[in-house]
Symmetry: C2
Subunit: 352 residues, 2 copies
């Protein structure tokens, strides 16, 4: 099922249940209809204080009749939880993540929520520390924009904290997620390069333990197969999303007997690293080597030749993640799992 | 008094007292010498639990004799405070701040501290929300990298939270701070441009409610005066640190009857905005207009012509802020106020 969510993406739900969200009865209305105090209604919702079985049943029946779903965040405030959301970012020095954080904050500020940004790039063991923090502080929600965190996400879920994943889905857990269509991004990059006459296209991939890393490579291979182009291991090098790793990977690719005429880099930082390595080797870009990145960070338009890239709208992803957290807030953790797919677009500049 | 602190800066203290920091006796040693348990020593330090007057006196005498100063952060953990530090950044989409955050986290991670990054750019009223958060969560320390926050800093101080300011001092409060020599940065920019033959130099300033904004302009004017160059209001435009504001300011400067041949921009983002505005107007940079920025963000070396700039080491500033927080942790909030001055350097590229 596909539902238009907003201007920047479409929503895909895995369940058939997709009740409209955001309708909210007030606790006062429930209290009046059930002839109890607002405090009693709050206690029924939160479960924090004992309420007699008869009263509980009456309140719950009224909530059902009125189609009342408690506001998760408001409830949090009442039960002395926080009004804060944490974003764990892979690497805050990659401009993609500050832009994502800005979008998230734009959406959540309207709901009176504060965003705290944590930098996973500081250390590989940081995710565990982060999850400890979030649970200890009883934050309302978490946006996870790093790879390989299934176990830690399970801990967050266990603690009743809403989680939105960016870039990947978590198959066996009720996690909302936002992503670009990473397979299609890989395919589109190859097609754009093919349409410019390239027949030998290499790729510099992201880490293969990350979903975007794997999917962009899968898309690259699938389009190469379809178009009858080679895509064997001699045309594939892996990086770790940084500029340096892009430069190193390009030099390796160019040491091989048969050189590619174009390279698809799985993000812009690696593409910029590759671009500078090519220029250092006095290779004319794009005449001798075309380069395409992914993301469209600020720097993509600043380098010369300016980088052609597949734009992934970071700020919109942040906004979508915020919307998912708010929706989850209205629905509670048991509602249907949601996936927002943001649209990418090829931005043609000078490097390809 | 000036003390070499480390490779990246020098420390200036406003008081004559500058005991070496970081010497730490253990609580065990105090407990053994005072013939009490470690728990009792902790209670004396924290004041959280009653200890008999006689025991308290004995423990305090031993602490004095051993020159024992409790570790502020360890103490925090014991007294159920946090092991987290917050950084409030002016604008996280300006790459200066993520680099600063990375440096801060590098230093504090060694002390078992986690850094949370907050984006003030999200809204002008955000500082108050931020301070509420910090106090409510009883964070151990705060690094403030925004301007105009004297009142809010007073609230943090009142709550017993260590504060380090970046970029400015707070005259009437015991706040440690890290900054570059912003006046000298303005002076050096003018001197570099003068040495390249420019006699009519304009400036695009930062907001004048920020200390670096004011000081860089003051340095610009002082060097112009010294060298007999004009520096009147027709040569001064103000921006708000963003690219767009730099572009707007440059167009204004160039509409005036007598055009400058060079412009000193108070940060790199404004300089990059000015550079692109100049190129749009088909003005040859640097032949017709030389441009100099401040910061040396990543993008400075990516634009073409590459930006000449006064480098302010953001990551080192973050590290220095972390050291100051840790020192404050050892000394408590009443110790002498410290100021770390980081070194800047002119980086000559193509734009000037």
């Amino acid at each position: 099922m596909v539902v238009d969510l907003n201007r920047f993406g479409r929503e895909v739900t895995s369940a058939s249940d997709s009740r409209p969200v955001g309708r909210s009865m007030t606790i006062s209305a429930v209290a009046a209809a059930a002839r109890v105090s607002k405090t009693t209604v709050s206690h029924v919702i939160s479960g924090n204080r004992p309420v007699s079985a008869a009263t509980r049943k009456r309140v719950q029946r009224v909530m059902d009749e009125l189609d009342f779903r408690p506001n998760y965040f408001a409830q949090s405030l009442n039960s002395r939880r926080s009004h804060s959301v944490a974003l764990l970012a892979q690497d805050i020095t990659n401009p993609f993540y500050p832009a994502l954080a800005r979008g998230l904050q734009t959406t959540l500020a309207k709901a009176g929520q504060v965003v705290m940004l944590f930098d996973a790039g500081a250390g590989s063991k940081f995710t565990r520390t982060f999850v400890d923090e979030v649970i200890q502080r009883r934050l309302d929600g978490v946006v996870v924009a790093v790879s390989q965190v299934d176990e830690e996400i399970a801990r967050l879920n266990g603690a009743g904290i809403a989680v939105v994943a960016v870039g990947f889905g978590v198959s066996d857990q009720p996690i909302d997620w936002v992503s670009a269509d990473d397979v299609q991004i890989g395919r589109d990059a190859v097609r754009e390069l093919r349409s410019r006459g390239h027949g030998r296209i290499a790729t510099i991939t992201g880490p293969q333990d990350s979903e975007p890393g794997r999917s962009r490579l899968a898309g690259f291979r699938s389009a190469c197969d379809e178009l009858g182009l080679p895509s064997g291991s001699e045309l594939v090098e892996s990086g770790n999303w940084t500029r340096d790793s892009g430069a190193v990977a390009l030099r390796r690719l160019l040491q091989r007997p048969e050189r590619p005429t174009a390279v698809f880099c799985a993000n812009d930082l690696m593409a910029i690293g590759a671009l500078h390595a090519a220029l250092e080797m006095e290779l004319d870009v794009p005449a001798k080597l075309a380069i395409v990145g992914v993301d469209d960070i600020d720097a993509a338009s600043l380098v010369r030749p300016a980088l052609s890239t597949l734009r992934v709208p970071a700020e919109e992803i942040g906004k979508a993640a915020g919307e998912l957290l708010l929706t989850r807030g209205h629905e509670g953790l048991d509602g249907p799992r949601r996936h927002v797919l943001v649209q990418h677009a090829f931005i043609s500049r000078q490097s390809a």
